[in-house]
Symmetry: C2
Subunit: 164 residues, 2 copies
DNA sequence: CAAGATTGAGATGTCAATCTTG
DNA sequence: CAAGATTGACATCTCAATCTTG
């Protein structure tokens, strides 16, 4: 036991529960996607973001930001996705420093097939359990936290809105 | 764009913000601990849980549950902590199938030194930004979700309370 | 055999160094 | 040199197989 109290009782409860929830939820989402579609949650996120972009393509750095990933991590991940034939990469003709990541038809088929099961899992584990008021509370809380994270130098496209 | 709507607008906002928040927050916590104390967040959690247990020791499976880790992951992690001299392992005399993980003095010193900076980071990024009402809302939301996760077979000691 | 825990191989993530283009 | 991205070395996690004890 620590002598001094760093967080109030309620804060401690909220914090430990949040950490546990996040950890278990992440595992649950990963398992469902792995079992039903044989892809990781990280892969699903990348493919989904790409599938929702205009022409299903994005610059690597935008894709990284939108999927909350570091550039390095994304680069490794996309290399694997390219290997699988789900994404192709090519230097941007306008600015040759940038690279376009383009979702292939095969890649799109994968997201399309995986999405329903994933959403069902999200519904079952999260939104079916929360009242409309709680959904709004959660949205507001995360909005505030994203703002704080952005201020602290941990950027988020969801906090600042636009992409280049 | 997906044709059919799987989540309502507000749900989608809450969901994408939650995913982004969790990801950025995790990175921020890891960085602070890594820079100031040269340990990962995962390591910090394990050492903290141990430091709060009676006699600063726990069976491996209890430690795994309390730190939201799989047994395998914990086993690898504790092996590294043992290497560092922060934890020792020994077969439980009562039931020789179980293993006691015991925090060493050196290990305790590490948590003690790392805790203030970590708590300050949690305060700065989370609780300083939320109203008391929001803290309660967050606690209630995560409590509900933990219950749902437990029902779905993703156990949590925080949902079911006691440890063996 | 079941429970508790560990192990090794392979997948994935991090960090620092590097490469290319503007 | 700065920006965008990649690479390689190394750390960590996952999954399945294994080991030990009851």
């Amino acid at each position: 036991m620590t002598k001094r109290k760093w967080l109030s009782d309620r804060e401690q409860v909220a914090w430990s529960q949040l950490m546990a929830t996040v950890s278990l939820l992440d595992t649950a989402l990963d398992q469902q996607l792995q079992e039903d579609s044989d892809i990781s949650h990280a892969t699903f996120v990348i493919l989904t973001v790409l599938s929702q972009a205009p022409d299903r393509q994005l610059h690597m750095s935008d894709l990284a930001a939108l999927s909350s990933s570091s550039q390095s991590r994304l680069s490794h991940a996309v290399a694997r996705l390219e290997e699988a034939g789900w994404v192709t990469r090519s230097r941007c003709p306008v600015n040759k420093r940038q690279v376009h990541a383009q979702l292939t038809e095969a890649g799109f088929a994968v997201v399309k097939a995986a999405a329903p099961g994933h959403v069902q899992q999200v519904r079952r584990l999260v939104f079916d359990r929360l009242s409309p008021a709680q959904v709004d509370q959660l949205a507001e809380i995360t909005r505030v936290l994203l703002g704080g994270l952005a201020e602290a130098g941990h950027a988020s496209p969801l906090a600042t809105a636009e992409l280049s």
